[in-house]
């Protein structure tokens, strides 16, 4: 039991991201409404962002912005004093990209609503089946 608690405390960021990710995955599979599926996808993306940002963390370190001395007189920088900038760079672009993909998803949802009059997956499937039998 003590080992388990120690393990959870040492890696609680992983536990958090996995819980969030599974909430998103469950919403994407189980929910019938397309907008709820998109909300699930966004929760999933947020979990990935949390994961990346948390692996860049270092204990006792500060943000990776150095002091800029004029005329190129720099102090030696110890890498352990600054958190890892790489995950932040990757997630910075990923956040904006996730917003624009959300826009595309919502545009598709608007088009689906315009042609079927509903956003429920089962009703859309029903309407598609009826259209197919009417064609035959």
């Amino acid at each position: 039991m003590q080992d388990l608690i120690r393990e959870i405390v040492a890696g609680y960021n992983y536990w958090l991201y996995i819980v969030l990710m599974m909430i998103g995955l469950y919403a994407m599979i189980a929910k019938g409404n397309l907008v709820k599926k998109i909300a699930g996808m966004n929760i999933f993306q947020t979990a990935i962002i949390l994961f990346y940002v948390s692996i860049g963390c270092k204990k006792g370190a500060t943000i990776p912005i150095l002091e800029h001395a004029p005329h190129g007189a720099h102090h030696a920088v110890r890498a352990a004093d600054y958190i890892n900038p790489l995950p932040h760079v990757l997630m910075l672009t990923a956040i904006v990209v996730s917003v624009s993909t959300l826009g595309v998803a919502l545009a598709l949802v608007i088009k689906v609503y315009q042609s079927y009059g509903t956003l429920e997956e089962s009703e859309i499937r029903e309407a598609m089946r009826e259209a197919k039998t009417a064609e035959e």
């Binding site: 536990w15 963390c57 912005i65 990209v97 624009s100 598709l108």
Partner: protein, 275 residues
């Protein structure tokens, strides 16, 4: 179906949790993610690029290709929104006008119009009528400061948290705030649809053009130190200035894309009446 998906989610979660046993603990400076290229960036970025904010230096210089194609992805998403939703030449079947002095609302059916510049009538939206003096006045006061702050965030991205993506989103948000607080037509008068499309393409052009200029000056693509020959500064300073040019391109492209996505989503592509 719900039980089935719950089982899948729990099973995948358990597998992932099992794998976390091998992961480095939280905040470990010796974790694999922090030991390969990251120390090089932290120790060398300032002397190599003269940019104190290492996130900006990595974003626009060391990983310049990545950021360029991320910007292209955003542009493509905006273009996809416009292509999916935009409807041309569809006129509204009915319009509503409000008489400014009395507040009487007139419902016009068909294709007839009341000239809006007469000063006695204003066009109002069909579904939602934003007419709140407090919200309008506060947004009118707030929007210039938002835009000024966005320019600060873009220009000061070298020395503080910020840069093209964040500043571009704030700039786009200021125009979206205008559309929400007044109406969509007011914001379209300020920044037209064609301007938005041109700006989105211009942002990508600034980014890739900076890269191409580096080739013309004898360097590699996106190797900003080649710009030193025309900027008349040292190669290290030139990398800092090249990053600024690229960030401006990113900011312009992101702003235009956010506005285009909002305009098309809010009005389902008619760009006439919307949220």
């Amino acid at each position: 179906m719900k039980i089935f998906s719950l089982i899948i989610a729990v099973a995948v979660g358990c597998v992932l949790l099992y794998a976390t046993g091998d992961f480095p603990s939280w905040g470990d400076p010796a974790s694999p993610a922090s030991t390969h290229v990251s120390p090089h960036y932290l120790e060398k970025a300032l002397e190599e690029t003269s940019v104190p904010n290492i996130v900006t230096a990595v974003l626009a210089d060391y990983r310049g290709y990545d950021t360029m194609f991320e910007t292209t992805v955003i542009f493509a998403a905006g273009a996809a929104c416009v292509i999916l939703l935009r409807l041309f030449g569809i006129r509204p079947k009915e319009r509503y006008y409000r008489h400014l002095l009395t507040g009487v609302t007139i419902h016009v059916i068909g294709d007839r119009k009341i000239p809006e510049d007469s000063g006695t009538f204003e066009r109002i939206d069909n579904l939602w009528v934003p007419h709140d003096m407090i919200i309008r006045s506060i947004c009118r006061f707030l929007i210039p400061f938002l835009q000024l702050f966005a320019l600060y965030v873009i220009a000061h991205g070298h020395h503080s948290p910020g840069g093209g993506f964040q500043g571009g989103v704030i700039l786009g948000a200021s125009v979206i705030l205008m559309a929400i607080s007044m109406n969509l037509r007011t914001s379209l008068e300020r920044i037209r649809e064609k301007t938005v499309a041109l700006l989105a393409a211009l942002g990508i052009l600034i980014y890739s053009g900076t890269g191409a200029l580096c080739i013309l000056l004898g360097g590699n693509y996106l190797d900003y130190s080649a710009l030193a020959r025309i900027l008349l500064v040292s190669p290290v300073e030139a990398r800092s200035l090249g990053i600024l040019a690229v960030e401006i391109g990113v900011g312009v492209a992101v702003m235009a894309t956010m506005i285009a996505i909002y305009q098309n989503l809010a009005s389902s592509g008619r760009l006439d009446e919307g949220l």
